[in-house]
């Protein structure tokens, strides 16, 4: 079991998705601080998961200048109506995950801690409801550590009746 002392002198980022618990599904708050506590930082695989989520949910081309090639096309494809079935979700997730992987690896250096470096993202499960798409993903670091993230994505309501 890792303890806080294992993360001494490691690089950290500000935590943007707060409220994670060791076990169970928890709806995270997308906030840097709240009324009761100040901001928090994250490192290790949690930081890696945050990197992956930000990259995955950034529509490619939506950021200007040198960042225009960052992000993935997953949300764009979703908005364009290309993703209609569970099969589509899996296929396009794999396309987008490859785009994210390329971007994350490009900015990594050999001096980074293996737990901070990306190895793979897997789609463990998905739920496609009338107005929500939930992606259960697992982020795996180069050190082999994993972190599960559930991405609830609102989608345009569809008529499932025939």
């Amino acid at each position: 079991m890792t303890t806080a002392i294992d993360y001494l002198n490691r690089r950290f980022d500000v935590l943007a998705f707060r409220g994670a618990q060791p076990r169970g599904d928890v709806l995270l708050a997308q906030t840097l601080f709240d009324n009761n506590t100040g901001g928090e930082v994250c490192t290790g695989v949690q930081k890696l998961a945050q990197r992956w989520v930000i990259e995955f949910l950034t529509i490619r081309g939506s950021m200007p200048y040198h960042m225009s090639t960052r992000g993935s096309d997953f949300l764009l494809w979703l908005r364009q109506g290309r993703i209609r079935t569970e099969f589509d979700v899996r296929a396009y997730f794999n396309f987008a995950a490859q785009q994210v992987k390329t971007n994350l690896i490009n900015e990594e250096t050999a001096t980074m801690h293996p737990e901070d470096r990306f190895q793979q993202a897997r789609l463990i499960k998905l739920l496609l409801a009338q107005d929500t798409l939930e992606l259960f993903t697992e982020i795996i670091s180069l050190a082999g550590d994993t972190r599960q993230v559930i991405l609830p994505i609102a989608i345009a309501p569809i008529n499932l009746s025939v």
Binding site: D13, V14, P64, M67, R70, L104
Partner: protein, 545 residues
């Protein structure tokens, strides 16, 4: 482009990236524990800072691009105009601000009833818009008027009347300096409208100087403004506000092949001490209209021959009498045929006289005079008596300010004590150009008026080039073409009115070269190309296949 960044969308991505990399490195050195790959600090702190840094660096670069003559000359288009103005003010050079062309439009209407033309009426010529300056009331013929905004309708003899209104171009620039008798189209046409044309040359239109033009004029600010070397003389001329808009000047002196005035000795060798200055005062020559008294010298079966003298002060430095009309003839008629033009010179009244030995040396100077004979085929011969005198309207083509410039440079305060100086209108080569513009049948035609204006603007600003290349013309035309449109073969034609009164015709499809015999004073240092937009024939044809 100002110094300040107006929108972050105009930032160079490389500058933003460099700013982010720089900040990331500084943070990493001071706080190695902060994660600077993609994440919250990256997106919210360093990336936003990089945009701010990109703004600052862009503005710094703009200042660096404008701070010195070296930077300005290396890329004048990048330099900020305000900073360039500041730098060049150190050399006593000021940017010329563009002005609008002004002139008069003659409007022809049916009938003699009073008509009112409102101010700000829109008229178009050569694709350019002009607005009338004031409301004009045109009264029937014979009416006595006192208001400056009133006109008396003048009968044209065909049931129509004409009157003129002052007008100003909408845009600044010299392309609006349209020639006399250029057709104007009203929008909308006033009641009883028949036609409209320019009553005289529109003048005064000048473009605001670009950084390139301003920087190229810097050498006029540095030299001493005296009659000495070519740069000094050019600087002296342009330092005078009245001559500041002079287009181009070519200065001939000792040792130049074109200089013959310094050989007025026993032996035909150059002795120096003479300066000839060939001037292009404006992009196009101007037409001066004057009334002259002519004498009937011969009555023939169906027409008569008249003679008049153009004195040296009538149109100093003139090229030719472009039209002679009876006083009753409208200015948009062709005019009478000039059959004789003999040049002389007149320096008799001047305290200081330049050394002029013959009419060739006096040609196109302020001392030039001329005897003109023309045929009047319109007036019935039976009413005329040989020796009788009658006034005619003369349209004379000349470069403006030639007389004023001669007076200025020849004055006791500016004249070199070691040489005399003679100012001349640059020898004109009147160019006409014809070509096809080929397009697909489904494509719309390009704006031919704009193309003509742009071609004329390019050719008239070539600065004593000596040769005119077809590629210079097609280069201009291509700026206005789109789709599959292309330029066909060019036919370039030049008519040189030589200082000896003869004409030389040159013609070529690729390169129009001056014949270059210094003895006739036609060389690349004396001769300019003159191209009026209406002398450009553009024919749009559909591709056959």
């Amino acid at each position: 482009m100002g110094l300040k960044v107006q929108s972050i969308s105009e930032l160079d991505p490389a500058l933003v990236l460099a700013a982010q990399d720089q900040l990331s490195q500084l943070i990493q050195e001071k706080y190695p524990e902060v994660e600077l790959t993609r994440g919250v600090i990256h997106d919210i702190v360093t990336f936003l800072h990089a945009i701010s840094g990109g703004v600052c660096q862009t503005e710094v670069n703009r200042v660096l691009d404008s701070r010195s003559l070296l930077a300005i000359n290396s890329n004048p288009l990048l330099a900020d105009p305000e900073l360039v103005d500041h730098v060049l003010s150190n050399y006593l050079i000021e940017r010329k601000i563009g002005t609008r062309a002004r002139g008069n439009i003659t409007i022809v209407v049916q009938g003699t009833a009073t008509m009112v033309l409102s101010a700000d009426s829109l008229y178009t010529a050569n694709g350019l818009n002009f607005r009338t300056n004031v409301p004009i009331t045109a009264r029937p013929p014979g009416t006595v008027i006192s208001d400056p905004n009133e006109r008396v309708l003048e009968l044209r003899g065909d049931g129509t009347c004409e009157f003129s209104v002052p007008a100003t171009a909408e845009l600044v620039g010299e392309t609006a300096n349209v020639r006399i008798n250029t057709k104007f189209t009203p929008s909308p046409p006033p009641p009883r409208f028949v036609t409209a044309f320019s009553a005289n040359d529109f003048i005064g239109g000048t473009a605001t100087e670009s950084n390139t033009e301003l920087a190229s004029r810097m050498e006029d600010g540095i030299p001493a403004k005296v009659v000495s070397g070519p740069l000094n003389i050019s600087a002296l001329i342009r330092s005078q506000p009245v001559f500041a808009d002079m287009k181009n000047v070519s200065i001939i002196g000792y040792g130049d092949a074109e200089m013959a005035r310094d050989q007025h000795w026993i032996f035909p060798i150059s002795g120096g001490g003479r300066i000839d200055i060939y001037c292009q005062m404006d992009a196009l020559p101007k037409t001066t209209t004057i009334k002259k008294l002519a004498r009937l010298i011969e009555k023939r079966t169906s027409d008569s021959i008249w003679q008049l003298a153009v004195q040296r002060d009538d149109a100093p430095g003139f090229y030719e009498v472009s039209a002679v009309r009876r006083l009753v003839d409208p200015t948009d008629t062709a005019g009478l045929e000039v059959i004789y033009d003999s040049r002389g010179w007149d320096i008799s009244d001047d305290a200081w006289k330049p050394d002029i030995a013959n009419a060739l040396e006096a040609a196109y100077t302020r001392y030039q005079t001329s005897i003109i004979r023309f045929v009047d085929s319109l007036t019935p011969v039976g009413d005329l008596t040989t020796g009788m005198e009658q006034e005619f309207n003369l349209a004379i083509l000349t470069q403006p300010f030639i007389g004023d410039l001669q007076e200025f440079l020849g004055s006791i305060g500016h004249r070199s004590l070691m040489s005399d100086i003679l100012v001349k209108s640059a020898v004109p080569c009147f160019v006409s150009i014809n070509c096809d513009i080929i397009k697909d049948a489904t494509e719309s035609a390009p704006d031919l008026d704009q193309i003509r204006t742009a071609i004329a603007d390019r050719v008239n600003n070539l600065n004593f080039p000596g040769v005119l290349y077809a590629s210079q013309i097609t280069d201009v035309i291509h700026n206005f073409l789109f789709g599959t449109q292309a330029v066909g073969p060019l036919d370039m034609h030049g008519l040189i009115r030589r200082p000896d009164g003869q004409t030389t015709v040159i013609r070529d499809g690729a390169v129009l070269s001056l014949p270059n015999p210094p003895s006739t004073l036609i060389t690349h240092r004396t001769t300019i190309f003159v191209l009026y937009p209406e002398d450009i024939g553009l024919n749009v044809v559909n591709r056959s296949n």
